[in-house]
Amino acid sequence: MADQLYSVGITNSQDIIMTPDESAQYKAMGDDLKMDISSYIFLMSSNLSNYYSSKSLFQTDKYRIKGVKLIMDGSIQTYTALMN
């Protein structure tokens, strides 16, 4: 499959992911296909522990999480911004 992707010029992949399952799939794909894959993940507290519980989720030779976005609160207009 890697050869097919390379033949059409696809040599790496990036995505924004949200769940540990999706992260694991990308990690496996990177390892299987020897492709460079990076991800930006988007976290809220409900799935937090799934990410940092395993250091291998963060990176391997062919898979790397490039950035994490954490959502700490909501918005001012909806009265969900966390205020003192």
Partner: protein, 187 residues
């Protein structure tokens, strides 16, 4: 206007005792600290959505814990996104902890009057997007539109890329108010 915010005076010992004081998605502070530490060790840049000042407090408290335990200084960047209600003491902490910020500057034009009259009251609204104060502390900053909340491109006949800059240099609301000339910057 929200009664709990009209007489706003920051008191670090105060806890939020009012209804509608916001949503805390990271109520487990230990989880937050551990995640930030892992990101630091793995050189993963972290972008943190904080609209309210208490949310920024929670993040800065956790990062302070990380900075005191991270032996190796590395290029990991921590950036507060939106930062609508930052206080001056928080800007001081951000400079100390090497935290970047991306201001949602078009809030001034599109929602500034609503924040002034309804959501936040004058005091907090006048200090929204304190870009000049950030510059004075050598804090690295950027501006954003939070697209598609403010559509990137042409919106209501204006270029919103340029509008985000215009908001930083005029601080003018849709209704014509100037929100704190002291925070106006030049380009």
């Amino acid at each position: 206007m929200r009664d709990d915010l009209t007489d706003y005076k920051y008191d670090s010992s105060r806890t939020c005792e009012y209804e509608n004081c916001g949503v805390d998605y990271f109520f487990n502070k230990k989880d937050l600290r551990e995640l930030l530490l892992q990101c630091h060790h793995n050189e993963i840049n972290v972008f943190v959505h904080c609209n309210g000042d208490k949310a920024a407090d929670n993040f800065l408290d956790a990062l302070d814990w990380v900075r005191h335990r991270a032996i190796v200084k590395n290029p990991t960047k921590f950036t507060i996104i939106h930062a609508q209600t930052l206080r001056e003491d928080q800007l001081d902490r951000m400079a100390e902890l090497d935290v970047q910020v991306s201001f949602y500057s078009t809030q001034i034009y599109f929602w500034g009057d609503y924040h002034y009259d309804i959501f936040l009251g004058p005091e907090r609204t006048l200090f929204m997007n304190p870009i000049k104060s950030a510059i004075q502390r050598n804090i690295t900053y950027s501006l954003h539109n939070d697209s598609p909340v403010v559509v990137t491109g042409i919106y209501e006949g204006m270029n919103t890329f340029l509008k985000s800059v215009e908001c930083a240099v005029t601080r003018k609301t849709k209704g014509g108010r100037i929100l704190n000339p002291d925070e106006i910057i030049t380009v």
